[in-house]
Amino acid sequence: MSRALPAATGPVLIALILAGAPLTGLDEYSLTLLLAYGLLGLSLALVWGLGGILCFGQAAFFGLGAYSYAVAAMNLGESTVPMLLSVVVPGLLAAAVGALMFYGRVGDVYLGVITLVVTLILFKFVNSTAGEAYVIGHARLGGFNGIPSFPPLNVPGRPDWPIVGMALYYVAAAVLWLAWVGCRWLGRSPYGRVVAGLRENELRMQLLGYDVQLAKTVLFTVGGALAGLAGALYACWAEIVTPGLFSLGQSAEIIVWVLVGGVGTLLGPIFGAMGLGALKMALGGQQLIDNSLVMGVILVVFVLLLPRGVAPLAQRAWVRLWVLRGDATLDAQHPHHTRPGSRPEGGE
């Protein structure tokens, strides 16, 4: 017989992994950065994996979230409102760009080009803000040097209680977990099923009466807001934000994370981002091989040999080992049973 696990198994398991990771002796400082990367990977997993919108500009929302946090924190001296702004500001930009693209009926290729160009524009703009004129309240944008020394994350309403070190790790872990659970719920909700439908066949969905443009704009906005939140976590971790956050390299890296982790799943891109982020950190200590070269090789290898990424492979292995173990008759009884991993919107 197939054995279905309780619905809460996945979330509980992931919560335990996140809670237990620092106890294994891993450096919580590095782990916090990996969590921010994981959240950034999740934001693109939602937009690309669920909605089929290949966005080359997720770094724009990530960078904007980080800068929004830094500027607001410098002006307000605490982190509660800046955290909210780090979600709202990128979300608004994503809504505006998304509405222009989707209601303008821009094709997939041009959608990629537009999102890439938006990232480049922000990169160029922020890079050129070294002058005295580029000041927002007390915050100098600082051009190439970025904005250093802004207040860290603090307990809401208590600027004198900063959240740093291990506490920051656990806050980041909770944020990532909540975001993942939220995206999982979204994918399984009626809206998520509609988005999956438009990913598969936009014309048919329109012919049935769905407002495809609106559904895509909403999804793009949520993805942008999540990327902005990841940017704020990064800013709290790094305590400095620089134009490099908007770079093309950053944009490309996010796509590699999602591809390696598995497009169409949510956990895959999270662990893809964290795994490749860890690899990048490990390679950072040597000068023999360039990081970008390694990422490029990984991308080529995965596209050629494992185009669906690691997560669907792991899912299939899991189903074979656990769910269908000892049940050779299931296929005979239900020859049309759903293929494992064929429900990207529900994929974990």
Partner: protein
């Protein structure tokens, strides 16, 4: 209003008024006037390139006509987006079945039924069940991946998905294509049965299928309406024989 539309009287629910669609210098539709009454079944026939599918695309708003107007149930609908036409009750089964290939048949049906925004979850399930009663052969396919179905199965599933949205104007583009002889007969029965409760236009090349439907027939030729009337009379029309059946006019 044209003579064709005038004679339909007040019960007309679809009106195409002087509809034209030009692609560069090519007129795919040229000043077409066509009207249908409530619960009328009509077949559109004509040689390839006659403008039948273009007419469907104009009615469903995939194309915005170069000139002319589309009226549904007394409301001018020209210029509306596709999803608004669907929400007003227009359902289109395309010539090449158009489905959500990465999803199961059950999920496709759910999306069809859920397209009616006023439905509660229970009503969505009921709508799916009702469609499965109408197209029973789809029941056996529910768990299948839609992308892996045979062409004939896809035809039936697409029809079921469109029906799940409960349209009152059903546009069927070659619904018998790829079906076996028995399935064609079943399809004709189904369409006649559906025609009791909704207005249906069928584009079809299979003349035996058109005869089975036993409906009014409109013949398109070079983007214009060439002939219009009961099937038997239309098939005897020398102009129709000449342009469509390949016979010389007497």
């Amino acid at each position: 209003m044209s003579e064709t539309l005038s004679r339909l009287g007040a019960d007309v629910v679809l009106e195409a008024k002087e509809l034209s669609m030009h692609f560069g210098g090519v007129a795919a539709l040229n000043n077409v006037n066509l009207g249908l009454r409530r619960n009328e079944l009509r077949c559109l026939i004509g040689p390839n390139g006659a403008g039948k599918s273009t007419f469907f695309r104009c009615i469903s708003a995939q194309y915005q006509p170069t000139a002319g107007e589309v009226w549904l149930a007394g409301e001018r609908c020209t210029g509306l987006p596709m999803h608004e036409m669907a929400r007003r009750g227009v359902g289109l089964k395309t010539q090449v079945p158009s489905l959500m290939n990465g999803l199961s048949v059950a999920e496709n049906l759910w999306l069809g039924a859920r397209a009616r925004r006023d439905r509660k979850p229970d009503e969505v399930r009921q709508a799916v069940d009702a469609v499965l009663d109408q197209v029973p052969s789809v029941s056996a396919l529910l768990k299948n991946d839609t992308g892996r179905l045979a062409h004939g199965q896809r035809q039936l599933v697409e029809l079921a998905v469109v029906l799940a949205a409960s349209p009152w104007l059903l546009l069927l583009d070659e619904p018998a294509g790829g079906l076996t002889h028995d399935e064609v007969e079943d399809m004709a029965d189904l369409i006649r049965s559906l025609g009791q409760a909704m207005t249906i236009i069928v584009v079809e090349h299979d003349m035996s299928f058109v005869r089975q439907l036993d409906s009014q027939v409109t013949v398109f030729h070079q983007g214009r309406v060439l002939a219009d009337g009961p099937a038997a009379a239309v098939f005897e029309d020398e102009r129709v024989r000449s342009v469509y059946l390949g016979r010389k006019a007497a």
